[in-house]
């Protein structure tokens, strides 16, 4: 795409602005900030990727993956406010998932060990793991709130934290995986996934693009399961105080 072509995409921003002004939505400032930020962030990422692809230095790849995991953990951590050390726990869960995914993909030579493959596929896996972590923590909060009686009944019978929260954990893990599994069922029918679309636009053979998309869909399912289970195991104790009383859970906040 030429720079001129890219500039014309600002027309979409103008349409959004006009709608906002016309309907008095008051979103002009946010639209402007969003436009500038997304353009700068993406352009910067483009340059960074170009640099890393050219150097192929494994340390740079590791650095960018760590950065991705850090940002993902920080964002998902907002869903676990009030839980001790939750950002670290999410980071460990996501990093383990990433290591496992990449280990399998590279170990079985499913993808080439080059930054062109490692970084985008990792980005998608980490992004999905972030969404799953957030869903799990949200669901745990909801479940712990609604199952207080069940958990305290088990505690009063002398249960450990794990025994008392086991069923709540199971239900939350299941619930956090549902969107990914539902996505598997409708992929390609309801929407063409971003990666596949991108590859086709960039000139790749659609069959080749589909093969990679299948890889991503399967990797997502397994990363959702792995992240959710690891995070639930790492964090279940945090719903209790040190002396094994259930935390008073604040109701879920919007946004």
């Amino acid at each position: 795409m030429s720079i001129l072509g890219l500039s014309f995409t600002l027309l979409f921003v103008m349409i959004t602005m006009l709608v906002s002004v016309w309907q008095k939505l008051g979103l002009e400032r946010d639209i402007a900030i969003g436009t500038i930020r997304s353009a700068i962030q993406l352009l910067l990422v483009g340059y960074v990727l170009q640099f890393i692809f050219n150097t192929s230095n494994p340390w740079f790849i590791a650095l960018i993956l760590l950065l991705m995991i850090g940002v993902a953990a920080y964002h998902a951590g907002k869903r676990g406010k009030g839980l001790r050390g939750i950002v670290w726990k999410i980071a460990i869960a996501i990093a383990t998932t990433e290591l496992l995914m990449m280990g399998l993909l590279l170990g079985f030579r499913i993808i080439e060990a080059t930054p062109q493959y490692i970084i985008p596929i990792s980005g998608m896996t980490i992004g999905n793991a972030m969404v799953v972590s957030g869903l799990l923590l949200n669901q745990m909060r909801r479940e712990v709130g609604s199952s207080k009686g069940e958990i305290e009944t088990l505690l009063s019978l002398g249960a450990t934290a794990r025994q008392a929260i086991q069923d709540v954990m199971k239900r939350s893990v299941k619930s956090s995986m549902i969107p990914t599994i539902d996505g598997m069922k409708t992929v390609g029918l309801v929407q063409l996934p971003g990666m596949m679309t991108g590859m086709i636009i960039a000139g790749a053979d659609p069959i080749e693009a589909v093969r990679y998309q299948i890889l991503i869909v399967f990797a997502f399912a397994s990363s959702a399961a792995v992240t959710s289970i690891i995070l639930s195991l790492l964090s279940y104790r945090e719903w209790f105080t040190k002396d094994l009383r259930l935390l008073s859970i604040e109701p879920e906040r919007k946004g």
Partner: protein
């Protein structure tokens, strides 16, 4: 001999903007296995006190000791196995009635006392119950008795009963009272029983703890309490209409 249970200057603060304590200076000693009725008007914190004794709510100040061992120094799981709370609103765990009754055996990997269950079910008026039935489908009264039986199978030293006969008809209530009386005699289990049924309190307890004015106002033998209460508050409480318990803050 070390007291079974000892409460020293126990205090509970209210939550939220209200800075007045819910109760304070609650001290008492249980020197031998006893049946204690915990009385008081609604909102005095009787349920909260039971939950604190069961290590389910925080003790803001003061201490509770079991055989001279402070709650804070004991593993909460071990404490709760010895001091067990039975809630006013019975909660059935997911699964069948039998799975609920097997909960203690499952949690602690101890043998399930099938014989005892079969013996107690009819005595609690539950002989008709199918053990394979989904526990969630039981009536309120059935849930309350199953929840009680589930806790008895833990064989705790102290049983904290929070209005456990509130949703039972007269016949079932009397059955439960009888079973608990006999259990107390046979097992030496101390029972602290929150009730609003003064007739029940008179019959089942040997000791009354009366909460009022933000503290444990009276601690006396049941006959003494009912014949000659020491405080005006207790006299008023007994003369007042038998009020239904409002859900207590906890």
């Amino acid at each position: 001999m070390k007291p079974v249970l000892e409460l020293q200057q126990v205090k509970k603060n209210r939550t939220g903007a209200d800075t007045r304590p819910l109760f304070m200076d609650v001290s008492a000693q249980i020197t031998e296995p006893s049946m204690i009725a915990l009385l008081g008007v609604s909102g005095q914190g009787k349920s909260t006190l039971l939950r604190m004794l069961a290590a389910l709510d925080r003790i803001d100040e003061g201490s509770v000791r079991l055989h001279d061992v402070p709650q804070s120094e004991m593993d909460p799981k071990a404490w709760r196995m010895k001091v067990c709370y039975v809630a006013q609103q019975p909660v059935m765990l997911q699964g069948s009635v039998e799975q609920n009754l097997r909960a203690v055996s499952f949690l602690h990997r101890i043998p399930y006392e099938d014989k005892l269950v079969k013996q107690l079910l009819p005595r609690l008026g539950l002989e008709h119950l199918e053990l394979g039935k989904n526990a969630e489908l039981l009536s309120g009264g059935e849930k309350q008795r199953i929840s009680l039986l589930r806790s008895l199978l833990l064989r705790p030293e102290v049983l904290l009963l929070d209005e456990v006969t509130a949703s039972l008809d007269r016949g079932s209530k009397e059955l439960v009272e009888q079973v608990l009386q006999e259990w107390h005699t046979a097992e030496g289990t101390t029972m602290i029983w929150v009730t609003h049924d003064l007739e029940q309190a008179r019959q089942i307890s040997g000791q009354v703890w009366f909460m009022g004015e933000g503290t444990l106002l009276e601690n006396s033998a049941t006959t003494t309490f009912f014949d000659s209460p020491a405080t005006e508050t207790a006299r008023n409480y007994m003369q007042g209409p038998a009020s239904k318990e409002q859900p207590c803050l906890s």
